[in-house]
Amino acid sequence: MNWIANIFRRGKLYNDLSEEIRLHIDERAEQLMGEGMSPAEAQRTARMAFGNRAVQEERSREVWQWPTLESIVADVRLALRQLRRSPGFTMAAIGTLALAIGANAVVFSVLNAFLLRPLKVPHPDSLYALHHGYDLTANQSYPSYVDLRDRNRSFDGLVAYDVSAAVLDTGNNPSSVWTEDVSGNYFDALGLQPYLGRFFHAGDEHGPNSAPYIVLTYDYWHTHFQDDRGVVGRVVQVNKHPFTILGVAPAEFNGTLLFFNPECFVPLVEDPFLGGGDLNARGNDFIFETLGHLKPGVTPAQAEAELNSIGASIQKTYPKDVGKMTFALKRPNLYGDFLGRPVRAFIAGLMLLTGLILLAACANLGSLFAARAADRSREVALRLALGSSRKRILRGLFTEAIMISLAGGGIGLLGSVVLLRALSAWQPLPGFPIHLAVNPDAKVYVVAVLLALASGLLFGAVPVRQVLRTNPYEVVKAGTGSAAGKRMNARDVLLVVQIAICAVLVTSSLVAVRGLVRSLHAHFGFDVAHIMLAETDLGMAGYSGDRAQLMQKQMVEAVRALPGVESVGLADSLPLAVNGGSSSQIFTDATTDLRPSNAMANAIAYDISPEYFHAAGTTLLSGRNFTEHDDKNSPRVAVVNLEFARKIFGSPASALGGYFKMKNGTRIQVVGIAENGKYASLTEDPQPATFFPILQAPNTSTILVVRERPGLDTEAFQIGATIRNALHRVDSGLQVTVETRDKPMESTLFGPRIATIALGVLGVMGAMLSITGIFGMAANSVSKRLKELGIRVALGAQRKEVLQAALGRAFKLLAIGSGVGLVLGLLATKVLAFIVYQATPRDPLVLAGVVLAMAALGLLATWIPAQRALSVNPLALLREE
């Protein structure tokens, strides 16, 4: 190509050109001298006749240039030179933008990973889960699943799965694993191919416990079997039953729930061995979710209609076991709307806030650029006077803006990648296979670069009008002191917008932090401090029936005998833990038709020992506690909570001594009333709950609730290790988890914590931005009006008046911005209330906090300019001019 050759020849071309022009002017001058002009006069006239030599030379050179690219390179060089001349400004601008772009990249990456990226199965678009039409869950019983699977014509195979914990033993190293218990057609219907070995199929199932096979996930195979291809065909023990490893699932497939990565897959028909549900019980809704690919051409609405009619017929056939059976098709990724709704709301809120951060950063940078353009108005005027076009100058300014935005965007993106990698590797809940796979992909990079470019154009555009209006002659003549208008100008508006945005962020982070603190110190209906838990499943350890009950008794006694232990309660599950109690349908005593639709309420049920209430710190309001005599041979009794009493009986007084019925018809007498508590989540409304004597409702799931003796020196006493040793003396093979009471609550606090951290970070970023914004504005206004301030001081103005003159405007803008931001922030916290417990904006502390925080930010940001204004020396200033 010609232009390539031109690039190499260019040096000579340009030298020739300069030489030629020089000779031209010389020749003209000589001729003029020949006509009798003085040499100086002749040189001047010759140059004037030639015109603007620099412009002509540049135009001549442009002829040879590859037009756009090269002038861009030239612009970039110039911009780099300009930026290097003011490193403070450059670093501040890049840093500001890096923070804003980084925050956006992180949040967008999370949004991308959770909401945009489809599941790693073939044809994810047509994959739907069957959720209940009447609540946010999807549980089904196995027989209902089989009916739905066999009778529907909308799906290409319907699969079911349940999640359970099991002990996997490959020899002599029993370790706990999370399994997904899946229907036989699971892999085939999802369209998956094994990475290694084979999958099990629908044809492998022949009733309960007929398919003792196990498929490992790639990650588990990789970490626990060191990529050993020989595992296929090996027999391992699952809960002490032999299972054959069939194969390994593809690397990117971790089940259909986004956060929850199981470690292996076993057939659902093996559930009786896995402590799961009864395959034949129509009323036992233990299946977690059913899902499948819609057939081509079938719309979700058509499928829902068909499923509803199947559901109605199932309900009609089994009125005793099956309640309402309607369906809504949802995406399985976030378990339909159960996690989907809060996650979507939260991410949308975060995206909005980080968008605002970026906007605030742009406003900030815009006013920085405007100030810079004002400071450089002499230079701009000079360049205009020397023949530069306004377009050229604007292009230079935009190039600077784009360079800064790209540098900031690059650094921000780099930081966000580091953060996201860490986030992806993080296991937020120890003991649970929860992963936040938020690694950035190409989409994230593109969005970050686009955002950076867009913001560069946005803040680069702020000084455009200023440059276009520049009149070179005026500026060169009059100097930089331009008249300060009394009206709000564009920069003031930008500052107000920026402060308002920052106030929104500060408000929401304060509301969130306050809500979290409150929720940590609230009373949940049980004590958290000075309680230890020891958790095990005797079923996994091979105990069942009476042996399990005897074992539980021995365990309680062993721990109770320890010094430092005040009391030991026993429970099958605990409130606010991950498997926090099962829900049971409750009927009034008068009900004879025990069909689900006649149930009065769903109550969470806990099986406990008599000592539990004392050990856990749950107050009995009236009636009696259980005793050792409330066992299998005595009539069934229960302690219910206040909400239960109110809901089923109308009042606590009528509840005491009253009867209610369970689904299977058992009549149970209420012997005591306990206080209300939080059971499933911190944000829930009061829920009915009931406690049964564990002797009347045996269960292998065993949790010891251990209350420490008051004043116990836990450091010296090592109560955790002591409890574990005591239990190992009872049975050395027990897998016991010993932890403090707040540990299992981490999962319920996980969401609020993440929300609070995220909002806290955004709040700090907002605060930083508003400091730099106010500082820039105040510093600028003080330096512009230094002369005026000097005159004021000379005329006897007091410090207060000087400050008012110098910074009054900054504070006025701060007040307006904060006010607007506070109101908007309070409105925004309505969204917050979904996630953070007690996130109420109507909290005087929060209001005062926001006002104080903004005032403190204002003081901080105006401190240096104020000092400068106060130290004005009128004499020195007036002498200068």
Partner: protein, 123 residues
């Protein structure tokens, strides 16, 4: 074309109209190869000083002609013993000039007809 007759002012330092300066340069070079300074003199004298071409504006035009190979340049020494860069029209330059002149004449004729509808003048 009123602008052609108007002396160029500083603010209006662009070409007369696109291609006009190039055409005049080529025509001058067709008669005689010469260097930049001589070209300016020649154009101004031939136009009876009606065209006050800003001297510098010649050079971008010369570079354009060089680039499209309509002229070629060579360093040399003038009769007055000055170091000069002499431009010479090429065969392609001759063809280009011919085309330009004929299209310019047609345009000029058209404009003249519009401006003076009574007279059907040609030159």
């Amino acid at each position: 074309m009123p602008e052609v007759n108007k002396p160029m002012t500083e603010t209006n330092s662009r070409d007369l109209f696109p291609g006009a300066l190039e055409m005049m340069i080529l025509e001058s070079l067709r008669r005689q190869p010469s260097h930049g300074y001589a070209l300016v003199q020649h154009i101004q004298q031939r136009s009876n000083n009606l065209l006050q071409v800003e001297e510098g504006s010649l050079y971008p035009a010369l570079q354009r002609l060089l680039k499209s190979k309509l002229v070629k340049a060579e360093w040399g020494v003038s009769s007055t013993n000055r170091r000069i860069r002499t431009y010479q029209i090429t065969a392609a330059g001759l063809r280009h000039l011919e085309q330009q002149v004929s299209s310019f004449e047609r345009m000029f004729e058209g404009i003249a007809l519009v401006l003076n509808p009574g007279k059907a003048t040609t030159n």
